[in-house]
Symmetry: C2
Subunit: 158 residues, 2 copies
């Protein structure tokens, strides 16, 4: 039993969100310095949703939880920024496959490295033991696929 009173229940969710923002903001600060200044938090999710083999606008929309048209517009933006390209699928003339460009892949590689660096820094602050306990606890409390890409819309007002 702990002698201290429990903190109010609203603190934990706010801390979870703040910790997420802290990591993501730090990631984007660093990746901006490495040549990707115009990336937004959302884009990392989109890149992950596209994946190494490419995908289509419809499938992307499903993964992102938005309409295929919205996904198509997102792809257009990322195409203009030079992160993705569209090609045709020889096996299915309807599909137009969205793939990451070299620049897009570079971004993914750097993101993965920076995420690992940030985790290492947290591990140094907290101790690897305690960090793993946090990760284990979160896996237990919030199981399932962590890639919920519809967050922006989810959060907004009616």
């Amino acid at each position: 039993m702990s002698s201290e009173p429990a903190p109010p229940g609203f603190e934990l969710p706010l801390r979870l969100l703040l910790a997420f923002r802290t990591i993501i903001d730090e990631l984007h600060e660093r990746i901006a310095r490495e040549g990707h200044p115009d990336l937004r938090p959302m884009h990392g999710f989109v890149f992950q949703a596209i994946g190494p083999h490419g995908t289509t606008a419809v499938e992307l929309g499903r993964r992102l939880g938005v309409s295929k048209q919205a996904a198509g517009k997102t792809v257009e933006n990322l195409e203009q920024l030079g992160y993705v390209e569209r090609g045709s699928d020889p096996a299915d003339a309807r599909r137009k496959v969205v793939r990451l460009t070299a620049r897009g892949v570079d971004c993914l590689v750097r993101s993965a490295r920076i995420f690992d660096e940030l985790r290492a820094e947290w591990s140094a602050t907290l101790g690897e033991e305690r960090l793993r306990e946090v990760e284990t606890a979160l896996r237990l409390l919030a199981p399932g696929d962590p890639f919920r890409l519809d967050t922006p819309r989810w959060f907004g007002s009616p």
Copy 2:
């Protein structure tokens, strides 16, 4: 030293976000059943930003990280939903004070209770000891005011 390899660095932030969403979704499911079906995740933040003594649209906009016009529109919506009301300030004829209605306060009280209930459930799943360790770790890693109200805009694409 842990013999298991460390998980990839991107898992932790995604779990943090997923855990946040899990709590907030559960909160809104329950508070909808208690007579507040049209609340959105954002609104809790707005209520907190308004506070017990009321505030103005300009100040609200500052706290939310949006323009005063956007804050004014949000207030209009919440006024139509019956959660806030606007009155004039006898000490300053320019100011129009936004205050929570009885319904708004009811919502805040219920939210606080449900958050405590959810925390108690997590404590039962995880053990109070381990839950406190998570909270402590998050306070250490993401210190500062957890009320960052500009999250929706922050997350969006350019």
